[in-house]
Structure formats: structure tokens, C-alpha cells
């Protein structure tokens, strides 16, 4: 290992944001031509470390060396000039510019005073040749493309400048399956060219597929660097989490009750969803698996009255009336948690109390009036129950960490006391402790002895679905399969359908998986084959 | 200028605006009177021209710390009540434009007879076009009492000439000279006929509209080809009169107005009897009388 001199050395990197210590003295070494994985829980500091590397943040303390030379990038352009490129976690394209302009942004080739459009086109085509994606033509506006395509533009941007070190921060989180496979091939090729790659991911299977070494970050510190080939997944997980995760998915005995929701042939305006049929009963959790872009979110939105519906029927067996508007759905005791906290889920500059009680303000006063004191009392109870870390119910919700924001968004459904909870990626972007709290809460509402509720949960993380759900259905290109009890499924079955390699889930009474029947070993799942 | 010797009388002069040369002359006249009489004079106008509401506020504020007010009301009615309120305690002299229904409470009204000014202009224009043909009026701005009186005076008097028709009087020039110039250019275009105009005479009712019209005529190379009578004074107008581009302009005597305004106010404060109406005069200047020493002196008071 020690033979080639390292391409990058980071020593004692420290970074604080006000009172938050994002990184406390991190050391990292990257060799030429290696793919080095960086893993760790949310908020561990992975992105922050990489932003320091790419010049987007300046470290408070610490030294960096690149190819043996001191390296202190003042800004991203500086870093690029030295050969360090980064693909950011948050999407980062300028929607009004064309694909080619996005790719060369910040380093446009020039001919005299003007941009050399020929050179720009050539560079863009060269970068895009790696993907061969049908939608991505150099002269279309980036804003008109899908999220997946936008992510590829970003990758193209970094390729276009010929870097010696490339950082990928969770690149697959918004890529379609086909593009993921192409990306992996691309990374193999880059590695062969001697380019070093730092690859951040929450998916250990990706790490295993790509990386030779991995470094685990926890709470802003490096807790270990290992060779991927010789390391057991259990060890990585325990390094990441720092504790036993046996009880991550609590599950007490559940009894399925009466039918509470019946969806028949629901079809959205753009055929997403496409003729979806699903039954939901009290006391059960139904999971919807599928790839990014398969239309799961659109299904929930159509169901909840947020998107227009072209056809199909939704029958609700709960009291209250109302048509398919969000207001009507709340009245029917159906609540929804959005996958996008910042853009849709929360009103960030309002208080926690306002956010939690927004759908049911009429309960906190009569004749249009409102008692903030009552709002706060009610909210304080949830803060207590869900363990939301905050200064109090009056604090603006934007000041909370992502996990605590998510708990508050979840509390909105509990406060309204809905019978049906529609949860879209309820644990996206939150840490493991918060996840556990939310799983616990889900388990509690469906096993309530007096009034068991029902839950539909969307997740891209299969272990989560297998851990929480009673039945799982898979969505692929807007179409939803039957919901099959988890005991009769393997993640493999699910992925086959999701990627379109199989038409449907196996019949009841088919092969029974050992892994799936014991949900508590779900942390093994990332290593199951894809 | 905040401090004043104890016992010194304090007079506030509130004009309609502060930007026109016209108001500078009023200020100069007021200052002259103040110096002669040994009183302290404050000259302060509304921040936005034509902002009645703000002028009302000004009157109130100034009444708090002055012994008398000399006011050029932006509006005949808007300023009436506040004036009445103030006039209960302190003498108020109205200058420049009239205040409605104010005989009972104001000390005096010191102004040009604007209607008469308009008539003078009409007669001058009629004479210059030989009492027959078409004329156009470019008005100043809606709601400005003094200019509306001039326009009315003009239209009344021009009716007395049976062979003169008014081709257009519905356009308002707008508040600034630049706007006036655009409106005037468009108006001229509308009235164009062959190489000249379908009208023989043009009247404008104040400084900015006259200025804008003159610039527009010059821009279209029509200056001098049409008879043009304006209102108020500007170095450009004198130049135009000399070149034959204008046939006349009606001058008020703002210096005298300011002077008489302050003088009347002080007289009232001292308990002397004052005239209820003081006419400060409207004078037609023409290429012919520019050399007249009296006219020259009048013009000099109104140029920077």
C-alpha cells in the first residue's frame, strides 16, 4: 500500500459552523488511481470534508497536500485549476442555461472576447459521450431535463475539465438504474486512467462494487480506514453507527383489521401513476418500493389530491366527507408526509407549533380564533414524545437539524390523529437515532389497541421497507404490483420487478426467504445481490 | 438659520414646489421683504411637487413655530380646511393661486390674475395669426388650478374671435419638461400638414409645457413657422422671442408676489389694514418690447 506517494493528504482538518463542530481534526490519504469510499451516518461530516477539499468551504484548521505540493484552494475554480473536481450532493445546475453551457460553466473556452462555441460543443459532447443518454443534447435547457439527467450533467461538468481527483457525493441518490450502471462503468474507466476518486455513499453494496479502501466518519472524526475486500459489513456498520442496531426496526404483534382505503385504477395526468390498484387495512403497513422516477411520489400526490387525476377511484372508509383535495383528504383523516422537506414539507420560518398544527388549526380555538398557548401545549407533548431536540415549540423550524425537522413533520400527522398515514421517504436524510424513533412511532400507531391506523410508506431503501412493512408492492414506470406479505419476498424479487427484469412479484406460496422473514437482520441486506 | 433673535417676527413661506425658477423668484422677493422689515423668513415647499397631502402637513408643521404663513396652495379646496384652522390663530396670506371660499379667514390674496393672463395670451396669439385660423392648446397637468385658469381664460377669450377654431385642447403635457416634449412632439405630428402645421397658433400654459413645446418645435424644424405664445419666463424663451420662434410669453411677477406676500403678512401682524386682494400683474413680453427697461428688469428677476 505504501509504495506510491499519495495524491492527496488531509491532516487535522477542523471545521465548525457556529456551535456545530462539523469536523474535528480529520486525517485522510488518497492514493493515485484508487477509488476511496467515504461512509458514515448523516451529518457525520462527509460533505463538509469534501467541500473543504473542493474549495467551497475554508477549513478552520488543518493542512492539505496535493501531489506533494501544499494545497489551499480559495474557491472551487482554484480547486479545479489544481485538478480537483466535485459532484455535489445537492443538485447544482443552472436551469436556464443549456446543457453545454452548464458543463463548461466557470471555464468557458474563449476565442477573443467571445465564447468559442465550437470548442464548447466539442467539450460537452466529449463529456456526454460517457453516458449516451437520449435526453441530454448539448443545446437543450438544463431545467427541462429530469433530475437524473441533471445529475449526469453535473458529472459531465467534472469530466470536462480533466481532473486528477474526482469527488462523487452520493451520486446515485437521484440517478435512474440504467444511469447508475453506466456511472459504475465510467468510474472503472477513470480509475484505469489513474484518476483518483472519492466516492461517498450510504449504500454499502455500491462501496463493495467500486472501492478498494473505505474510510468511516462518525461525528466529524475518522473512526477507521479499511480495505474493502477484507472487511465484513457488520464491522463497517458498527463503526458507522457506534452501537448495536439490533432493535432498529421495532415490531410488535400486528393484527390486520377492516379495509380503510381502496384505490382502483388510479391514473395520473401523465400516466404516472398508471392504473394503480391497492387496498389498505387498519393495523398494517404497506410499503411501496421502486426506483427513483418510477412514479411513487406521483401516486401518493394523486391519491392525496395534490395532482390532477385522469381516471380511477379512491374509496375511503373513514368519517367525514370531502373530494380529492388535500383539505378533503385531511377531513377524511388521511395525512401525508412529503418527501421534500424544504420545498414542500415545512414552512421553514414558522414555528414548530405552527408547522405541527397547520392542518388542524380549528381545534385550537372557536369561530376562526386561535390560541397559540394551546398550539404550543399540544406541540410540546409531541416534542417530548418523539424526542425532538429544540428550544421549545415557538422556535422556527428552520433552525432544527434535518432529523428533528422530519420528526416534527411526522408529528403533524400524529397531532391531526389521522387514520391513514401516507409517508413518502420518511427517513430520507436523517440519522439513525431519528430513524429509530420514526419506526417506533409507525409501529405504535398501527398497533394501537383502540384504533389501529394504517400506513403507506415509500422508500428507496429496501432494508427499511422489509423492516417496517407488512406487505410490499413494487412500482415500475407508474404501474404498481400486488402488495405481497414481506415473509414471501426477497429484496431480489423486488429489484427484479423494479428494474423491469420481472413483470410481477412471485406468487403467494412461492419461495420463502430466510432473510426477509427475520426483519431484524435487515442490516445485512445492503450486501444482498442487486 | 434655526435661531432667531427673541421678539423677531417669524414668517413661513410655503410654495407649491421648489424646483421651478419661478419659486426661486418668489423666494427672492420674500427675502427682500423680510430683510427690509427685519423679520425671519423660512421658505420650505413640499418634497414631491403637486403633493397636496404633504403641503397640508407642511402648513400644520410650520404653523407651530411661525407667527404668520404665506401660502401658495397646491389646491383650492384641499388646503382650505387646514388654512382655516391655522388662520384662527395666525394670519395667513395666500399667494399665487386662490383658495376656495376663503374670504372670511385669510388675511389677503396676493396673486397674478391667471384668468386674465390667459386672456392676454389669447389676444396676443390672435393678433399674431391675424385673427383667423386654427390654434392648439397644450395644457399643463390635471388638477393644477392656476394653469387651468389660464387655459380657461385663453379658451374664453379665443372664442371671441369667430374665425379662430381650437383644433386640440385635450392633451396634458405632464409634470416634467421631458414628458412635455414627447407629448408636444406627438401633438405636432398629429397636426402636421404638408411641410407645416394645420394650426397657425399654439398656446402653452406654464414654464415646463412651453419649454417642452419649444424643444419639440425646434426638433421638428417648425419653430418660427407657427405662432407660439407661452407662459412664464426662461432664458430659452427670451432667445426664442429674439429669433422669432415665439411671439410672446405672459410673465407673472413672482418677485413682487413673494415681496407683497411677506409684506402683507407683516402688516397684518402689526395690525395695519391690508387689501383683501393684491394683483401682482401679468405682463406680455414680445420680441418688440424686450428692450423696454421695465420689461428687462422684470425678466431679470426671473432668470438665474
Amino acid at each position: 500500500m505504501a509504495s506510491p506517494p499519495p495524491r492527496l493528504v488531509m491532516r487535522g482538518i477542523r471545521k465548525t459552523f457556529g456551535p456545530t463542530v462539523a469536523l474535528g481534526r480529520v486525517d485522510l490519504e488518497i492514493l493515485p488511481g484508487e477509488v476511496h469510499a467515504l461512509v458514515g451516518e448523516n451529518g457525520a461530516g462527509k460533505s463538509t470534508l469534501m467541500k473543504i477539499l473542493s474549495g467551497a468551504h475554508a477549513p478552520d484548521e488543518g493542512e492539505m497536500q496535493f501531489d506533494g505540493q501544499p494545497y489551499h484552494p480559495r474557491n472551487p475554480l482554484d480547486a479545479r485549476a489544481r485538478g480537483v473536481g466535485m459532484i455535489y450532493q445537492e443538485l447544482s445546475v443552472a436551469p436556464h442555461l443549456t446543457v453545454e453551457e452548464n458543463i463548461v460553466l466557470g471555464m468557458e473556452p474563449r476565442k477573443g472576447p467571445f465564447i468559442d462555441r465550437k470548442a464548447m460543443r466539442a467539450r460537452a459532447l466529449e463529456a456526454l459521450a460517457h453516458f449516451d443518454h437520449p435526453d441530454i443534447r448539448p443545446d437543450v435547457k438544463a431545467g427541462t431535463l429530469s433530475v437524473s439527467a441533471q445529475q449526469l450533467i453535473e458529472i459531465g461538468r467534472s469530466l470536462a475539465m480533466g481532473c486528477k481527483l474526482l469527488v462523487f457525493d452520493e451520486p446515485t441518490s437521484s440517478l435512474a438504474q440504467k444511469d447508475i450502471e453506466r456511472l459504475f462503468l465510467l468510474i472503472d474507466r477513470l480509475k484505469a486512467q489513474g484518476i483518483s476518486i472519492i466516492y461517498i455513499s450510504h449504500f454499502l453494496e455500491e462501496v463493495k462494487r467500486l472501492a478498494s479502501r473505505l474510510t468511516v466518519l462518525r461525528d466529524g472524526s475518522v473512526v477507521g480506514t479499511r480495505d474493502v475486500a477484507t472487511t465484513e459489513p457488520e464491522e463497517i456498520v458498527s463503526l458507522m453507527v457506534g452501537r448495536d442496531v439490533e432493535d432498529l426496526y421495532p415490531r410488535t404483534a400486528r393484527t390486520t383489521g377492516e379495509r380503510i382505503l381502496a384505490v382502483a385504477g388510479l391514473t395520473g395526468a401523465r400516466n404516472k401513476p398508471d392504473g394503480v390498484t391497492l387496498d389498505l387495512h387498519r393495523g398494517e403497513v404497506v410499503g411501496i418500493a421502486g426506483l427513483v422516477g418510477s412514479g411513487r411520489t406521483e401516486f401518493l400526490r394523486a391519491l392525496f389530491g395534490l395532482d390532477p387525476v385522469k381516471g380511477g377511484a379512491v374509496e375511503v372508509a373513514t368519517p367525514g366527507t370531502g373530494n380529492a383535495t388535500p383539505r378533503g383528504r385531511w377531513k377524511q383523516r388521511i395525512g401525508m408526509l412529503s418527501e421534500n422537506r424544504k420545498e414542500e414539507g415545512l414552512a421553514l420560518n414558522l414555528s414548530i407549533a405552527d408547522n405541527v398544527t397547520l392542518p388542524c388549526l380549528e381545534r385550537f380555538g372557536s369561530a376562526g380564533t386561535l390560541s397559540p398557548a394551546k398550539q404550543k401545549t399540544a406541540t410540546a407533548a409531541w416534542i417530548d414524545k418523539l424526542g425532538i431536540k429544540c428550544q421549545g415549540p415557538g422556535q422556527p423550524i428552520g433552525a432544527l437539524s434535518g432529523g428533528n425537522q422530519q420528526k416534527a413533520a411526522f408529528a403533524r400527522l400524529l397531532e391531526y390523529d389521522v387514520d391513514v398515514l401516507l409517508l413518502d421517504e420518511p427517513t430520507r436524510g436523517i440519522d439513525i437515532a431519528a430513524k429509530a424513533r420514526i419506526y417506533e412511532a409507525i409501529n405504535e400507531v398501527v398497533t394501537d389497541p383502540h384504533r389501529p391506523r394504517a400506513v403507506i410508506i415509500i422508500s428507496s431503501y429496501l432494508p427499511e421497507l422489509f423492516g417496517v412493512c407488512d406487505r410490499i408492492a413494487v412500482m415500475s414506470q407508474g404501474k404498481l404490483t400486488r402488495a405481497v406479505p414481506v415473509g414471501q419476498l426477497t429484496p431480489h424479487d423486488v429489484m427484479l420487478v423494479a428494474t423491469g427484469k420481472a413483470a410481477d412479484l412471485p406468487e403467494v406460496g412461492g419461495r420463502k426467504s430466510e432473510i426477509a422473514s427475520s426483519p431484524n437482520s435487515a442490516c445485512d441486506l445492503p450486501f444482498s445481490d442487486l | 438659520n434655526k435661531s432667531s433673535t427673541p421678539g423677531q417676527l417669524r414668517i413661513a413661506v410655503i410654495p407649491k414646489g421648489t424646483t421651478h425658477i419661478y419659486w426661486k423668484s418668489v423666494e427672492a422677493g420674500a427675502k427682500k421683504a423680510a430683510d427690509e422689515l427685519g423679520v425671519k423668513m423660512t421658505f420650505v415647499g413640499p418634497q414631491k411637487e403637486d403633493d397636496r397631502s404633504q403641503q397640508i402637513d407642511l402648513v400644520k408643521n410650520q404653523a407651530l413655530q411661525n407667527d404668520a404663513i404665506v401660502l401658495a396652495p397646491l389646491d383650492a379646496v384641499a388646503l382650505r380646511d387646514v388654512t382655516k384652522e391655522v388662520a384662527g390663530k395666525k394670519p395667513v396670506v395666500i399667494i399665487d393661486s386662490s383658495l376656495a371660499d376663503s374670504d372670511g379667514f385669510i388675511a389677503s390674496y396676493v396673486a397674478t390674475d391667471n384668468r386674465e393672463g390667459g386672456r392676454i395670451a389669447a389676444r396676443a396669439l390672435a393678433e399674431s395669426i391675424g385673427s383667423k385660423g386654427k390654434v392648439a392648446v397644450l395644457r399643463y397637468a390635471q388638477g393644477s388650478a392656476s394653469t387651468e385658469q389660464r387655459e380657461e381664460g385663453f379658451l374664453e377669450e379665443i372664442k371671441k374671435f369667430p374665425d379662430i377654431q381650437v383644433a386640440s385642447s385635450e392633451q396634458y403635457a405632464g409634470a416634467t419638461a421631458s414628458q412635455a416634449q414627447d407629448t408636444a412632439t406627438n401633438l405636432i405630428t398629429r397636426l402636421a400638414e404638408g411641410g407645416g402645421l394645420s394650426v397657425q397658433g399654439i398656446f402653452c400654459s406654464n414654464q415646463t409645457s412651453t419649454y417642452g413645446m419649444l424643444q419639440a418645435l425646434r426638433g421638428k424644424n417648425l419653430a418660427g413657422k407657427v405662432k407660439f405664445v407661452g407662459f412664464d419666463c426662461d432664458a430659452t424663451f427670451i432667445d426664442a422671442l429674439k429669433k422669432g420662434e415665439m411671439q410672446g410669453s405672459v410673465l407673472q411677477d413672482p418677485l413682487n408676489m413673494g415681496y407683497m406676500g411677506v409684506k402683507t403678512a407683516v402688516a397684518k401682524l402689526k395690525g395695519e389694514t391690508v387689501q383683501p386682494v393684491v394683483d401682482t400683474g401679468a405682463t406680455l413680453i414680445t420680441p418688440a418690447n424686450l428692450a423696454d427697461p421695465k420689461i428687462d428688469a422684470l425678466i431679470k428677476t426671473q432668470l438665474p
Binding site: 376562526g368 | 397631502s53 413655530q65
Partner: protein
């Protein structure tokens, strides 16, 4: 009120006190009852309209047409007075007409999803023009024997308009804080998507906000009529910017979700104080403009710094 809200108001309030103090130290007349009363009275028209604007800005909108609306409503109100309509009906009629104008703004921006900035830029000209067309450009004067409106913004003692303004500030502070509608206004301005998700009638809320804005502009117009005894189609030109500045100085954010009615009042008072102070200190009129401009920017800088440290 929570500590946070109080802190938000502290910035503009301190600015107000400092400005008042500085002018007062130059001319002690500033501290007399008369001047204080003048400042209050002269704030009424902008103040009442600023309350409505606060709601509009909190909901994420803006209304550039408010000055023209005041002019148009004023001519409508004055015309009613000349037709011998009773004061109560004049008040109600003018307010209703203002609400209707607001509805046009709200309807165009909500229904057709147009940017309120440009919609109200258009209606600003249209309302102004309409006022001039309707009155032929001349102010509609109240008959001289009508005295019912005088006490609202003139006469001896504290004009009723001042009490009205204060009452409205209290009322709308309560509405924003203690009613469902109030919280919906904040929710819509803070994040429209969240509001929709939570079952808030976003379009209805916005329409209502613009209607209230218009209605308060109508009330402001009645006060203006009371002040000048006429409905003048050219009045309040450019006042929209004064009103918006008052609201923003008072801590509202033009991106929505933030703002207080009391803050807007303080902002409006600040601007009147500057003007009054400049006049009392004999500062020439153009300097007043420079000073006003600089104070607006400084007030916003202070606000910004406060936010950064908080």
C-alpha cells in the same frame, strides 16, 4: 408576544427613537405635544394602507397599485359625498370599492398565476387613469357644508383617524396572531407548497389578503378625503413606495412569511418623523429626500445585522 417578535421590532423602534432624539436635540419643539400629534396624524394615511400591505407582503405578494387605489377610492368616496350619501355608507362604500380593486389584483395574480409585481404595475396605471377619467382630472371637492369627515383627520385634539389607525394595528396584530386566517397568511407566504399540502386554501387566502389590502386602501382614501376635503385623482402618486418601505423597515421580508403590523406602523412613523424633523430644523426639502433614502437603507442594514447575529 414572544421575545423573538419583540426583538424583531426593536431594530426599527430604536431607529425611530434615535431619529426622533437627534432631531429633538436640534430643536426641542420636536418634544412638544403638538408635534407628536402632528407626526401621528400625518402617519395615518400611509399607516392604514401599510397594514394591508403588511398582510400582502407576509403572504408573499406585493401591491404597487396601492397609491393609485387610494386616489381612485378617494374620488369614488368624494363623489358619494357630493351625492349626499350618509357618512356611514360613504365609509362602507369606499372600503368595499377598495376591496373590489384588491380583488382585481388578487384575482389576476392568483387566478392567472401572474407575478403580482407586474400585475399591480399594470393596475397602478389603470387605476390612476380610471380615477382621472372618472373625474375628468379635476379633484371632486366636498361641499363646504359637509363637516362630518373633519374630525377624522383634523380639528382640535387627537383626530379620530389616529385612534382608528391604532385600533387597526391592534386588530390586525390579533388577527395575524390569534386567528386561523392569520396563521394561514403566514403559512402561504412562508411556503405555498406546505400550505397546500396542509389543506390551506391558498388561492382563497391570497384573494382575501388582497381584498383586505384594497379595503384598507379604501379606508386610507377616506382619511385622505377627510384631510383634504376632496377626492383628488392625482393624490398619493408614488405613495406605494413609501408604504412598502414602511412595511419592510418594520421587519417584513419581501420573500414572504415574515412581518408585523406594529413594525409597519413604526416604519411609517419613522418616515413621518424624518420629514417633520427636517421641516422643523429648516433642512431644505431636497436634503429631506437624501436623508430619507439613507435612513431607509441604514434601517434595513441594521435589520440585516440583527438577523445575522440572532
Amino acid at each position: 408576544m414572544r421575545l423573538k417578535s419583540i426583538l424583531t421590532l426593536l431594530g426599527p423602534f430604536i431607529a425611530l427613537l434615535v431619529v426622533y432624539g437627534v432631531f429633538g436635540s436640534q430643536n426641542p419643539a420636536m418634544f412638544t405635544e403638538d408635534v407628536v400629534l402632528n407626526i401621528l396624524t400625518q402617519t395615518v394615511i400611509v399607516g392604514i394602507a401599510a397594514i394591508g400591505m403588511t398582510l400582502i407582503i407576509i403572504s408573499g405578494g406585493i401591491d404597487l397599485s396601492v397609491g393609485s387605489m387610494i386616489a381612485l377610492c378617494g374620488t369614488v368616496g368624494a363623489t358619494m359625498v357630493t351625492k349626499d350619501v350618509s357618512p356611514v355608507l360613504v365609509f362602507m362604500g369606499t372600503i368595499a370599492f377598495g376591496g373590489f380593486c384588491g380583488l382585481i389584483n388578487g384575482g389576476l395574480s392568483t387566478g392567472l398565476k401572474l407575478m403580482p409585481f407586474i400585475v399591480t404595475l399594470g393596475t397602478m396605471q389603470a387605476f390612476r387613469g380610471a380615477a382621472k377619467v372618472a373625474t375628468d382630472g379635476t379633484p371632486v371637492n366636498l361641499p363646504f357644508d359637509v363637516t362630518a369627515y373633519k374630525p377624522w383627520l383634523g380639528g382640535a385634539g387627537i383626530p379620530w383617524g389616529v385612534w382608528l389607525m391604532l385600533a387597526l394595528v391592534v386588530l390586525f396584530t390579533l388577527v395575524l396572531r390569534y386567528t386561523r386566517f392569520g396563521r394561514h397568511v403566514f403559512a402561504v407566504g412562508s411556503n405555498e407548497n406546505t400550505a397546500t399540502l396542509c389543506g390551506v386554501h391558498v388561492a382563497k387566502t391570497k384573494l382575501f389578503v388582497y381584498m383586505i389590502g384594497g379595503a384598507l386602501a379604501g379606508l386610507s382614501a377616506v382619511m385622505n378625503m377627510a384631510k383634504s376635503s376632496q377626492g383628488d385623482p392625482t393624490t398619493a402618486t408614488g405613495m406605494e413606495l413609501d408604504i412598502i418601505a414602511a412595511v419592510v423597515i418594520g421587519g417584513a421580508s419581501l420573500s414572504g412569511g415574515e412581518g408585523t403590523v406594529l413594525g409597519a406602523l413604526i416604519g411609517a412613523l419613522l418616515m413621518t418623523t424624518i420629514r417633520t424633523g427636517c421641516v422643523l430644523n429648516g433642512i431644505p426639502t431636497p436634503w429631506t429626500e437624501v436623508i430619507t433614502g439613507v435612513i431607509i437603507v441604514v434601517a434595513v442594514i441594521i435589520d440585516r445585522l440583527r438577523h445575522r447575529t440572532a
